[in-house]
Structure formats: structure tokens, C-alpha cells
């Protein structure tokens, strides 16, 4: 056992902290909403600054312009960025897409898209969900038909994060009718300005735009923008979803640590009925309890990280960690709202707003976390069936 970072990882962490001191993250312009996952807002400028350090491609093979650094460097980078509250929103998606392209992408994707990712220019929206295909992803209706050396996509995607400000969509579509429901799907990397694509914002309950819906009306995509083997997109996606759960939530624990620190400071500085909030026994207990939850959460992700690094089998570990991340985040947001009381709902920019109005925003955005990327229900079922070997419920059709 060993619960420390290696000397190289520690050195890299210090490099990242130095970078953040030299480039205060709050000075970067933001392009898209922070949905509260811990990776902050969408900021192309910040992504490009990371790229300038060579950090976007650092773990890729040398043949693709990388430095072949170990995967844990990505964890170190994300943890430091999350602790600092930096706006690295699209980073995890960029890395996942890059890994998929390096793993089974076409020559064109490697030649054109990878360098754009390395430079911090390319970000991606996920075109998975549809109006009638949420948790039951296989019910999706978007289709792609072959026409010469192109695929023509027809369909309607929804809940695509940052779609309006990304460069590409990762569109999941049916490419053939197969006997097995899970076969016959493929994935496409579709440039955002392709004719026939209509991207419309969806205003969220915070009043900002995070999600979009995308109408695809005979969108023509060159065949070498298909990502992965034709018809096997679902299996690729499943691996992707396990990774998605991990990389989409790894930074939640350090981000929650940051919020907890703010709440501790607030409790120390706030006097209620003649006594600092921090002296209130209930407040002390709730803050201490959630500190333990967050510490446990961080270790759950590091355990999954070790399995990913060592090639150990992942059956349920990322699913259970994701549910825990999102429910812990909701618990912390709720606690924050309780501590703030009447001040809680005051938004950023309002007179008298406390803690920058960020707690109510965290409270609201965290409602979406147990839904996005696999609902807590779907994931608990996955833990039970894949992890514990309990029998799957009979299918409804």
C-alpha cells in the first residue's frame, strides 16, 4: 500500500500550482456556464494556456505529439486545477476523445483533430441522448445512411453540454438494423458548422445556458470522420461511459474540498445569536461529517484510478464512485444553503450576496448531477448487476 503521490507527481503538482500563481484562473474570460461538476466553466483561453504548457497532450504517445507521461499526471493536473477553482470545463471530454482517436481513429482524425486538441482549440459535445432515449440510450432514433463516401445523419440530439460553443459533436447514430438491439450503432465526429445542423440553447433552471439540443437534418459527414469500427459504436461507447464516469467526476472531491473550506471560513467569521456559527454543535458535526464523506470520495476515485492505471477490471467501481460524488455534492450544497439561511438564495451580483452567490448555484446545478452521465438509478442497477452479479430485471419488450 502507498497513499502518497510519487516524487515526480509531487514535482508536477508544484509546477501546476506555480502556473496557477502566475496565471490566476479568475482572470481568464469564460465562454460557457460552470455546471458545478468541479471542472469549472468553459474557457477556451484557459484551455489554450494549459496547452501552452504542453499539458493537454502530455500523456499521448510520442508518435502523436505526446510525451508519454503516466496517466496519474492527468489526475494531478485536474486535482490542482479543481482546488484552485480553475475553468477547465471541457478538459476531460477533450482527453477522452483524444484517447479514442489515438486508440481507433482514422488517419484523418489523427492528422486533423488531434493537433487541434493539443492546442486547446477543439472541444466536443456529446450527442448521445435524444428526447425519447435518455436512460434507455438504445431507444435512440438518429440514423446515418451511407451515400458514396459520406454518411448522412438524420435525427435529434438533446442535453448536449456546451454544444453551441464547441468545435465538434460526437454523434451517436444507428447505421444498420441488426438482430441484437445493442449492435448497429456508430459514432461520428461532426464539425459544428456542417450544413443541416441546427444547435439551439436550452436555458437551465439557473437562468444560464449549459445544454443544447441539436437537430441534424441530412448532415453529410465524410466516412473518415467515423470514430471506431462501423456498427460497434455501442461497445466503444460503453467503455467510454465507464471512463466518462471516472473522468467526469474525478475532480469533484477536490472541488468539494474547496467549497467546504469556504463554508468553514464562513462559519468561523459569522456570528449568529451572539456566537460564531463554528461553535454551534450541529454545524460542527455536519461540517465534520461531510469532510469525512469528501475524504472517502477522493479515495474511491483514487482506487478506481489505480485499477485504470494497472489495467485491473472495472465492473462497478466508477459507477459507485460517480453516484457517491454526485450525492455528496448535493449534500454539501444543502449544508451550505442551511448555513447561509436567508442569504443562501441571493445570486452572484446581488446586493448582500454571500460567498459570491455560488452556494445557491451549486445547489441548483447539483440537481442535474445525479441525472447526467447515467442517472443514479441506472448506475445503482449497474453496480448490482455488473458488480455483485444480481440478476438483471427482465426487459420491458
Amino acid at each position: 500500500m502507498d497513499f502518497t503521490l510519487t516524487a515526480e507527481e509531487e514535482t508536477f503538482a508544484a509546477d501546476v500550482r506555480r502556473f496557477l500563481r502566475d496565471h490566476p484562473p479568475e482572470r481568464f474570460p469564460l465562454d460557457g456556464m460552470d455546471a458545478g461538476y468541479g471542472s469549472g466553466a468553459h474557457s477556451r483561453a484557459f484551455l489554450e494556456a494549459l496547452a501552452g504548457q504542453g499539458w493537454l497532450a502530455m500523456c499521448w504517445p510520442k508518435a502523436h505529439g505526446g510525451e508519454e507521461r503516466p496517466m496519474f499526471f492527468k489526475l494531478v493536473l485536474m486535482e490542482e486545477l479543481a482546488r484552485a477553482g480553475a475553468p477547465f470545463g471541457p478538459l476531460a471530454g477533450c482527453w477522452q476523445t483524444a484517447d479514442a482517436i489515438i486508440g481507433f481513429g482514422t488517419e484523418r482524425l489523427r492528422r486533423e483533430v488531434l493537433p487541434e486538441i493539443a492546442r486547446g482549440e477543439a472541444t466536443f459535445w456529446q450527442g448521445y441522448s435524444e428526447p425519447d432515449a435518455g436512460s434507455d440510450l438504445l431507444a435512440l432514433k438518429t440514423q446515418a445512411r451511407r451515400e458514396g463516401d459520406h454518411w448522412v445523419i438524420q435525427g435529434h440530439k438533446i442535453w448536449s453540454s456546451h454544444a453551441g460553443i464547441s468545435r465538434y459533436g460526437l454523434v451517436f447514430a444507428r447505421t444498420s438494423r441488426e438482430a441484437r438491439r445493442s449492435r448497429g450503432f456508430s459514432m461520428f465526429v461532426v464539425p459544428n458548422r456542417t450544413p443541416g445542423m441546427d444547435i439551439r440553447p436550452i436555458r437551465s433552471l439557473t437562468g444560464e445556458v449549459y445544454h443544447y439540443e441539436v437537430f441534424l437534418d441530412d448532415v453529410r459527414v465524410p466516412e473518415d470522420l467515423m470514430l471506431g469500427p462501423e456498427g460497434e459504436g455501442f461497445l466503444a461507447l460503453l467503455n467510454g461511459l465507464d471512463a466518462d464516469r471516472f473522468w467526469g467526476r474525478f475532480y469533484k472531491a477536490p472541488a468539494l474540498e474547496r467549497v467546504l473550506r469556504q463554508l468553514v471560513d464562513y462559519a468561523n467569521a459569522t456570528v449568529v445569536r451572539g456566537e460564531p456559527l463554528a461553535r454551534n454543535a450541529v454545524v460542527r458535526r455536519r461540517l465534520a461529517e461531510i469532510a469525512a464523506d469528501i475524504a472517502a470520495l477522493r479515495l474511491m476515485f483514487y482506487r478506481a484510478a489505480c485499477l485504470l492505471r494497472d489495467g485491473g477490471p472495472i465492473t462497478y467501481e466508477t459507477a459507485v464512485a460517480k453516484v457517491m460524488a454526485d450525492e455528496t455534492g448535493q449534500k454539501l450544497a444543502r449544508l451550505g444553503m442551511d448555513l447561509l439561511g436567508l442569504w443562501g438564495p441571493l445570486r452572484e451580483g446581488s446586493p448582500w450576496a454571500r460567498l459570491g452567490g455560488q452556494i445557491s448555484r451549486l445547489y441548483l446545478t447539483s440537481l442535474g448531477h445525479t441525472i447526467a452521465g447515467g442517472t443514479a438509478e441506472i448506475l445503482r442497477t449497474a453496480v448490482a448487476v455488473r458488480g455483485l452479479g444480481l440478476p438483471a430485471e427482465p426487459k420491458g419488450r
Binding site: M1, P276, A278, A292, M300, V385, P391
Partner: protein, 369 residues
């Protein structure tokens, strides 16, 4: 970062699991729970032959010089088997006290015998305040002097040869080491219902000699701290092992119990409950290993230990309660093993500091004023 036990540790774990499966089946646990003494002498001797009580003790004093992580992994297996008895009290907590503060003479006299399982030692810390906070101790005693008063919740006092007693004296707190049969010491059993053997120990003008003192007088609080940490971690390991076993029993039941034409584990209500048990056990274990590792490395780990114990106490009790719900009526029977694991987790969650005490430690570490 690496969560895997070493090959030697894996061997220790598999040996322990195998041994306990054969020598501590649940039927024995059930019998001992109903037995007045609750202590199986032959089993204790077999454990001693495996060297378990000497795991923390250096080879020069008859032990095998293992680390705290080794002990934690072993105790996790003991929790899995719901092994009753004084192992944590004697071989972890009391042994830690002697290792930390015992004089050369005290160590030489006691540690080889503890390592061989020939002696058993226990801690008499808590009083009517019912708190493991050393500051709550009021019992006065100087060494040399006389000790009059009582300690409560003293575990396994009936089988103990030696008592380590925390007293107020020497301008602070002091530790004294008394043979359990010294004149004036009376051990009165409490009826716990948890299977734990807890005692009220009364001292009636008991003679305390100068050389009964453990470590310098007045420094009991800091001298005791490592043993309290080791005890808290060991009881956390016991909870994690017991909760792991509950999870396994529950999953087995969910796969085989058929209602409405299919196994109940095929219903989402049961599946989702089981998924929560996985989270509770895994998260508790992560905190436990990380805290034990930090202690074993000699780093300051007060808050880590406190978090691990508080978290596991709540999470593992949740596992036990939910286990009852999933098992249904059958688990309400005395002959069903679930209540034994439940009671063990409950008892362990209170020993060496309950959630209240641990979370206050965490709160201070967070910087709450």
C-alpha cells in the same frame, strides 16, 4: 498511490480467512454469544500459535514485528468472521501502550507473554462520563499511593491478567499497570446484549507502587494517544470486515431467495439497496487503509483516524440495518447470524471514541474555531 496489500499481507489475509473459516464458524460465534464467559480458550491458543497476538511486538520480545497495516488487515478478517474475544483490547491497544511507554523491565516482563497469548491485558479508561476523551477522567491516584474508585466499560476484564488504568495524578493524567488480581480490585460484568464482555472494575484502596507507573507521571494523555489510535483503527477494521460479510450474506440471499417467481435480487428496490452497501463498505475501507497507512508511516494522522472511525461507524451500521431489511423476517431470529454482526459493528462504533468524539476531532482539524 497503491491500494493493494503486499504479497506477504495477502498471504496473512488468506491464512487468516482460511483459519477463521475452520476455527471460528458462525456456530461458534453464536454459542459464545450465549455463553457466560464468551471466551474460547483453545481458539485463543491456536491464534497464539499462529503468532497473531505478537504481530505488533518486535522479534526481540517474542513477536513478529509486523506493522499496523498488517494488524488492520488481520482484524478485518476477524470482523468478517465476527470473532469474539480480547484480541483488539490486548494485542492491539494494550500492547501499543506497553510498546510506547513501557519501561524495559515492564516490556520484558509482559510483552513476550502477551505475544505468546499467555497473558491478556486490557485498558480501564472510561468512567461515568461514558467518554473516551481522556480529559473526562476524574479518578485520582498517585504512585506510590492508593486507588479508590471505579472504571466502566472495561472490555474483557474477566480474562485479563493485567489492567492499564488511566488516572488523574502527577499534575495531569497518568497510566498505571496493575495485575488484575491485586487485592481490592473487583470486576463486575455489565449485561450488554452486544456479545461484548464489558465490566465495571472497582478499586477499593488498591495499592499502587512506584514501579506500577507506565511512563512519566502526568503525561498520560499524549502517551495514550497512539494506543487510542491503534484501537480506533482496529475497531474500524472490525466494522469493515463485519460489514463486508453482511454484504456477502445479503447478496447470496438476494440471489437465492425467490419471491414473485424470481430472485429478489432481480428487483430494483433490492438492487439499489445492495449498491448502497457496496458504497458503504468500500468507502469505509478506503478511509481505514489510508489512515492506517499514515499512522504506520509515522505521519500525524489524528484527523484521518477520526474520519475513518466516524465514517465507518455510520456506514457499517447502515449496512447492518439495511441487511436486516433485505433479509426480512428470518434475520429477526436469534439463530440467524445477522444480529451478531450488527451488534459487533454497534459495539465497535462506540469503542475508542464514538462518532461524537471523533467528529469533534475532525471539526478541530478543519479549523472550526
Amino acid at each position: 498511490m497503491d491500494f493493494r496489500p503486499s504479497p506477504a499481507q495477502r498471504l496473512l489475509v488468506s491464512t487468516a480467512r482460511d483459519f477463521l473459516q475452520h476455527h471460528c464458524p458462525i456456530e461458534l460465534v453464536q454459542r459464545l454469544a450465549l455463553d457466560e464467559r464468551g471466551f474460547d480458550e483453545p481458539l485463543w491458543r491456536s491464534m497464539a500459535e499462529l503468532g497473531w497476538p505478537g504481530l505488533l511486538i518486535p522479534p526481540a520480545l517474542g513477536g513478529s514485528g509486523g506493522s499496523l497495516i498488517d494488524v488492520i488487515l488481520l482484524v478485518e478478517e476477524m470482523g468478517r468472521a465476527c470473532l469474539p474475544g480480547p484480541f483488539v483490547t490486548s494485542a492491539v491497544a494494550a500492547t501499543s501502550v506497553l510498546l510506547t511507554v513501557g519501561s524495559a523491565a515492564q516490556q520484558k516482563r509482559l510483552l513476550p507473554a502477551l505475544a505468546a497469548g499467555e497473558r491478556i491485558a486490557t485498558l480501564a479508561l472510561v468512567e461515568e462520563s461514558a467518554s473516551f476523551d481522556p480529559e473526562a477522567v476524574a479518578l485520582d491516584c498517585d504512585a506510590p499511593g492508593r486507588l479508590t474508585g471505579k472504571k466502566l466499560f472495561v472490555k474483557d476484564a474477566h480474562v485479563a491478567d493485567d489492567l492499564i488504568v488511566l488516572v488523574r495524578g502527577g499534575g495531569g493524567l497518568s497510566l498505571v499497570l496493575l495485575p488484575a488480581d491485586r487485592a481490592g480490585i473487583v470486576r463486575l460484568p455489565l449485561d450488554t446484549g452486544s456479545g461484548e464482555r464489558l465490566f465495571e472494575v472497582t478499586f477499593d484502596g488498591v495499592e499502587v507502587r512506584a514501579d506500577d507507573l507506565l511512563g512519566p507521571a502526568g503525561r498520560g494523555r499524549e502517551l495514550l494517544a497512539p494506543a487510542l489510535q491503534a484501537g480506533a483503527l482496529a475497531r474500524t477494521a472490525e466494522m469493515v470486515g463485519a460489514a463486508q460479510r453482511v454484504l456477502e450474506l445479503v447478496v447470496e440471499h438476494a440471489k437465492t431467495r425467490v419471491q414473485g417467481g424470481r430472485p429478489i435480487g432481480g428487483y430494483q428496490a433490492i438492487q439499489h439497496a445492495c449498491a448502497d452497501l457496496v458504497r458503504d463498505v468500500d468507502a469505509s475501507r478506503g478511509l481505514l487503509y489510508a489512515a492506517a497507512w499514515k499512522v504506520a508511516e509515522g505521519d500525524s494522522a489524528e484527523a484521518d483516524v477520526a474520519m475513518a472511525k466516524a465514517y465507518a461507524g455510520e456506514a457499517c451500521l447502515r449496512v447492518a440495518r439495511r441487511g436486516h431489511q433485505i433479509f426480512g423476517a428470518i434475520s429477526y431470529c436469534e439463530e440467524h447470524p445477522l444480529h451478531l454482526f450488527h451488534a459487533r459493528i454497534q459495539a465497535a462504533s462506540l469503542d475508542f471514541g464514538d462518532a461524537d468524539l471523533q467528529l469533534e476531532t475532525v471539526a478541530r482539524a478543519l479549523g472550526l474555531g
